[in-house]
C-alpha cells in the first residue's frame, strides 16, 4: 500500500462577502499530515477550520500558498481524499443506503457491491434499520452518522472530518470514538478531524493543533503520547488531563489576545 502525504504550505485565504467585506479566514497555515496519522484540529468558531478542510480537499484554491499531495500540487478533488462535511449534505431524494453508496456509484462500482458495503457501514453506525429511510425521517445525530458512513465508504487514504460528532449525545459519541478508532486501526487512513471537544481531540488523536481566530493560524501543536488501542480509563489519566489543560490554555490565550485586539 502506497503512502500519501498531504502537506499545506503557507496557505492564506480570504473571502469577499456579498456586502463587499473582505474576511481573512486563513493566514500562513503550514501543516503536514504524515501517512497513517490521526490529527485533530481545534479552534474557536469562525477561525477557518472548515475553510482549511475545503482547501485540503481540493474544493477551493487558496489565495496564496499551496497544498501538496505527495509533493504534487493539489488542483482538484481526488477520490483518495474524502471529506465529511460539517453541514448536512445528504441528497434528500435518496434513501440512507443510496446516500451512503453514492461515492461508490460515482466511481462506477456496481449496485450489488456498493449496497453491500453501504449496509456494512450502516451496521457499524447502528443504522441498519434505517437503510431504506429518507434523510428527512432521521434525527440530526443519525444524519451525521450517515454523513460519516458516506465519507468512509470509498476507504480513502486521507479522511478529513469536519465536526463529525457535533450533534450526538455523549454516549453515542463515545461509542463512535471507538468505532472510528477501530476503522482507522484497520484501514490506517490518514485522518484530520475538526472538533470543538478538547477531550475528544486528545482521546482520538496523536497530535492536536490549535487554531487562532481571524485570521486562522496554527498557534500550538500538542503531541499525545498514548498508544492504540485506547481505553476510556485514559480520560482520567494524569497525563491526559495535563494535555487537556495545555490545549485549553492555548485556546484561552488566543481568545484573550483576540478580545484585546477587538
Amino acid at each position: 500500500m502506497s503512502q500519501f502525504v498531504l502537506a499545506v504550505e503557507n496557505v492564506s485565504h480570504t473571502y469577499t462577502t456579498t456586502d463587499g467585506q473582505v474576511v481573512k479566514a486563513l493566514h500562513e497555515v503550514t501543516l503536514c499530515l504524515s501517512p497513517k496519522t490521526f490529527t485533530c484540529l481545534v479552534g474557536a468558531s469562525g477561525s477557518g477550520k472548515t475553510t482549511l478542510l475545503r482547501i485540503m480537499a481540493g474544493l477551493i484554491r487558496p489565495k496564496s500558498g499551496q497544498v501538496l499531495l505527495n509533493g504534487k500540487p493539489l488542483r482538484q478533488p481526488q477520490r483518495r481524499i474524502s471529506l465529511v462535511f460539517q453541514r448536512d449534505t445528504l441528497l434528500p431524494w435518496r434513501t440512507v443506503r443510496q446516500n451512503v453508496a453514492l461515492p461508490l456509484q460515482l466511481a462506477g462500482v456496481d449496485r450489488k457491491k456498493r449496497f453491500m458495503q453501504a449496509d456494512q457501514l450502516l451496521d457499524l453506525m447502528g443504522l441498519s434499520e434505517f437503510a431504506n429511510a429518507f434523510p428527512t425521517e432521521l434525527s440530526g445525530g443519525m444524519i451525521q452518522r450517515v454523513n460519516i458512513a458516506r465519507g468512509l465508504i470509498t476507504q480513502p487514504d486521507i479522511l478529513l472530518l469536519d465536526e463529525p460528532f457535533g450533534a450526538l449525545d455523549a454516549l453515542t459519541r463515545e461509542q463512535l470514538w471507538r468505532e472510528l478508532l477501530l476503522i482507522w486501526g484497520r484501514t490506517h487512513a490518514t485522518v484530520l478531524m475538526v472538533t470543538h471537544d478538547i477531550r475528544e481531540a486528545i482521546f482520538l488523536s496523536q497530535r492536536v493543533m490549535v487554531m487562532s481566530t481571524r485570521p486562522g493560524h496554527i498557534v500550538k501543536e500538542v503531541e499525545v503520547p498514548f498508544d492504540y488501542p485506547r481505553h476510556f480509563d485514559l480520560l482520567t489519566d494524569p497525563i491526559f488531563i495535563q494535555k487537556e489543560a495545555q490545549v485549553r490554555e492555548a485556546i484561552l490565550a488566543d481568545r484573550l489576545s483576540s478580545s484585546r485586539l477587538g
Binding site: R54, G58, L59, P77, R79, L83, T89, L91, L106
Partner: protein, 280 residues
C-alpha cells in the same frame, strides 16, 4: 386517524419499501377528497338540466344534456369521435414533446451559463409575448394546413412555462450539494443525473402541469383556424351550422383530455416526489 387507516399503516410497515410506495400511491388515489370535484360536477350538470328544461333559452343557444349525450353516442358509434380525439391528442402530445425537449435544453443552458441569460432571455420573452392565437394563421400558411402546423402551435404555446420552471429548478440546486458532488469527483453528466435533475424535478413537474393543459389549447386553436379533423374542428363546424350539441361535446372532450393529462403528471409526481412527503 380512523381504525382503517391504522390497520392500513400496520400492513404498510410490513411490506418492503418499494411496495410501501406502491400502496401509498393507491391510498392517495382512493382519498375521499377526490370525490368532491365529481360531486360538484354533478351539481353543475343538474343545474344545466334544470335550465335547459325551463325553456328560457332556445335550443341553439343551450342544448339539452340528452341531445349532447345522443350526439356522443352517435359519434362514438360511427367512430368519428375517436378519430377527432386521436388527432387532437396526437397534435398536443407531439407539440408537448417537442416543446419539452427544447425547453429543458434551453432552460438548462440558460440556468448554467450566465452569459446566455443576458443574450437569450430578451428574445425568448419576445417570442413568448407574441400572441400565438394571432400568428396561428401565418403559421398555418408557413407550415401547411395539415397536422404539422397544429403541432407547431401547440409547441409554441407550451415551451415557455416549461423553460421557466427548468431555469428556476436548476438555479435552485443547493451550492452545498454541488460542492459535495464535486468533492466526490462527479463528472458533469453525473452531477446532472444524480443532483440537478432530481433537485429540479418539483419545479419541472410544476411546469409540466401547466404545459399539458396548454398543449391541448394549442392544438384546438390550430384546428379552429384551419382543419378537417380534430375536436377543434368539431367545435367550429358545430358553431357554423348552429349545432350547439357538437360544440358542447367538443368542449367536454377537450376538458377530459386536459384533465387526464394533468392527472397523469400528478401521478408521476406522486411517484417521483415521494421523498418530499417522507418525514412529514
Amino acid at each position: 386517524m380512523t381504525s382503517l387507516e391504522i390497520q392500513f399503516k400496520r400492513i404498510n410497515t410490513k411490506l418492503s419499501s418499494t411496495w410501501r410506495f406502491g400502496w401509498q400511491i393507491i391510498w392517495r388515489i382512493l382519498d375521499w377528497r377526490l370525490f368532491i370535484a365529481p360531486m360538484i360536477t354533478y351539481g353543475i350538470y343538474r343545474y344545466w338540466l334544470h335550465t335547459a328544461e325551463s325553456g328560457r333559452y332556445p335550443k341553439f343557444i343551450l342544448p339539452h344534456p340528452d341531445t349532447v349525450w345522443l350526439r356522443f353516442q352517435e359519434m362514438y358509434a360511427d367512430g368519428s369521435l375517436l378519430l377527432h380525439l386521436k388527432v387532437t391528442l396526437r397534435e398536443s402530445l407531439s407539440g408537448l414533446l417537442i416543446a419539452s425537449v427544447i425547453a429543458l435544453v434551453l432552460g438548462y443552458v440558460i440556468a448554467r451559463i450566465r452569459i446566455l441569460n443576458y443574450i437569450l432571455i430578451p428574445y425568448l420573452i419576445f417570442l413568448q409575448a407574441i400572441p400565438v392565437v394571432a400568428i396561428a394563421p401565418i403559421i398555418i400558411i408557413w407550415v401547411g394546413p395539415d397536422i404539422k402546423s397544429k403541432i407547431v402551435i401547440a409547441a409554441l404555446i407550451t415551451w415557455f412555462p416549461l423553460m421557466v420552471s427548468t431555469i428556476v429548478g436548476i438555479r435552485n440546486v443547493s451550492p452545498q450539494l454541488r460542492e459535495m458532488m464535486r468533492a466526490n469527483v462527479a463528472n458533469p453528466l453525473q452531477v446532472f443525473w444524480h443532483l440537478e435533475l432530481p433537485s429540479a424535478m418539483p419545479e419541472i413537474l410544476g411546469g409540466f402541469k401547466i404545459a399539458v393543459t396548454l398543449s391541448v389549447i394549442g392544438a384546438a386553436v390550430g384546428e379552429f383556424i384551419s382543419s378537417r379533423e380534430g375536436l377543434g374542428y368539431l367545435i367550429v363546424v358545430g358553431r357554423s351550422i348552429s349545432d350547439p350539441a357538437s360544440v358542447f361535446l367538443g368542449v367536454i372532450i377537450l376538458t377530459a383530455i386536459s384533465l387526464t393529462l394533468y392527472i397523469i403528471v400528478a401521478v408521476i409526481e406522486l411517484f417521483l416526489l415521494r421523498w418530499k412527503r417522507a418525514g412529514s
